[in-house]
Symmetry: C2
């Protein structure tokens, strides 16, 4: 109890060599003889020494840690994203830590502070709420890849999905299957700036217009936090208010799950009375009843691309920014008709 942490100095003294030699052994540098190396490793093992990453980082910069900043831990999308990234990074002998930015403006700024971000070798930023000014503040010499929907200046490395075409695909599918009064749940036609909700509403609107249908404003049902509970409550509201619909494009699968519950509450059958399409293709979406027809953003490819951009920056600080756009595809399940 209370025994002091073992430092490299302790190991050096015990092994009868200099600290530098211990460091050389542990970092597999070449200027150490085989018996010395062996001996040092034994002492390290005996004393239970482990390197102090804080000290290493202060001196050498590198830490082997990548940060992922997400708006919320409890949105399934980000959990799945984090899992994929974590697995992919492990192959590079790096590891991932995840931080949440989204609860409030204050906490978002704190999560994005240079002080915090500097602790990572690189950062994957999936913070929806930040705007240009925020981004400009974190201008530092730190490899960053932006994941998401925001329109950001070209100097940022960035990976995002094809929101508008995806939403269009979803809506066209609903139209093809016979829906005519299609609401967009979680969509926004106007907003202070372009974001996921506006892009997806635009795709919806485009598809309707192309089919000669009217993208009426009352079919656009905005949401605040895109939670299941909120989606369920809002769709219940609009149905109670007399909105007549035979199709719903939910801007995320999570929202679609809420819609499914709300439609059921209202005695409407999916897909018989109302057809439903989501966006994200979460793991759970295949296992709902009915299975959720949705847009698959090809997360594995997006993750691979993000990490490629990150590695490029790690290798070359001045790598030219790249802007990668993922592909989307339609996954048809039981929530739309044949």
């Amino acid at each position: 109890m209370g025994r002091r942490t073992v430092t490299m100095n302790d190991v050096a003294r015990e092994a009868g060599v200099s600290v530098m030699t211990v460091s050389n052994v542990l970092n597999d540098r070449s200027n150490v003889g085989p018996e010395t190396r062996q001996h040092v490793l034994e002492v390290v093992d005996r004393l239970g020494y482990e390197v102090n990453l804080t000290a290493r980082r202060l001196r050498s910069g590198r830490t082997g840690t990548v940060g992922l900043i997400v708006p919320r831990f409890d949105l399934h999308y980000y959990g799945e994203l984090a899992s994929l990234i974590s697995d992919a990074l492990a192959a590079d002998r790096m590891h991932l830590v995840v931080e949440q930015s989204g609860a409030s403006r204050e906490r978002e700024l704190s999560a994005l502070s240079l002080a915090r971000l500097q602790q990572y070798d690189g950062v994957l930023l999936s913070a929806v709420g930040l705007d240009m000014a925020d981004l400009d503040r974190i201008h530092p010499d730190l490899p960053i890849v932006l994941l998401g929907e925001q329109d950001v200046p070209d100097r940022y490395h960035r990976v995002h999905m094809r929101n508008v075409p995806g939403a269009r695909l979803a809506t066209e599918h609903l139209i093809t299957r016979g829906a005519r009064r299609i609401a967009v749940l979680g969509g926004k036609l106007t907003a202070p700036r372009q974001e996921m909700a506006t892009h997806r509403a635009n795709g919806w609107s485009d598809a309707l217009a192309d089919a000669g249908l009217d993208p009426r404003p009352d079919l656009v049902i905005p949401l605040q936090d895109y939670s299941i509970a909120e989606a369920r409550a809002r769709i219940t509201d609009v149905l109670a208010a007399g909105l007549e619909i035979d199709g719903v494009f939910a801007v995320t699968d999570e929202v679609a799950i809420g819609a499914l519950a709300g439609l059921h509450d209202a005695g409407l059958r999916v897909p018989d009375d109302v057809q439903l399409v989501g966006f994200d293709n979460l793991d759970i979406s295949a296992h709902l009843t009915p299975g959720l027809t949705t847009i698959d953003p090809d997360r594995p490819t997006m993750v691979a691309e993000s990490l490629r951009l990150l590695r490029r920056q790690l290798e070359d600080k001045n790598a030219a920014p790249e802007h990668v756009v993922g592909t989307v595809s339609l996954v048809i399940r039981g929530s739309t008709r044949n």
Copy 2:
């Protein structure tokens, strides 16, 4: 581009004071005059200085960061847990970072290495896979609270839920509502060591025995990773193999979601043909069709208690270990009959 990061030294030089005075200003220490403080703050602002947390940590130890280690990012339970903890910590002006331990033995050891854990002021450890030997290695003077099911030595601060009574409650409810052939999906009767799956299977077994029912081994359906997909596949298997059941106690809600899908695949109606109870009371569980009857572990209280134990250790390194057990309650929804 490429401009060097601003350090405290730069601020000091620019403001015409010593670094120590800058440090004193930024840490609100009392030995600085009002005009000096004002001036330093102006310079800090003008240069865009932010403290280097790595250096601060190396020197002073404290960082304001708490680590949460979870087995997987993509299990909903941990996402919800992380969200709750993150919010609760924000009130203490600390923040949370989450790491994943579970993908492989190797990665678990790496996540639990002293080197990594030392970077935090304190650690909340929800790693299911670790055993005594692993725990003994991370003996350091680091505040740790274990969350979960493992039986661990008394010297650890620990918060866990009442697994056996919870499982018993779930199973008794099924029996009360008329189920007689009740499977436990994800349960294990024997395992190398006590864990969530064995505890919950024990509660199931106890309830059956009390009711004069036979906890037959073929009613125990073990799982590997407790994913929705795996649960769905396994229940499909056992039904295809001819297992006759009229109730399922799923060891987690996530497993229950898979069970719901698998039962539906097999043409069985929930709750008419088979009743279903889960465990965890995830946010999503209220929004399934039918709503999932489940055991609520009172996560907010568990989180509050965990943080209390952590704070105690932060304040007093030698605080006596405490062992807190949460309460469970039954939440009745549509997946069981009236």
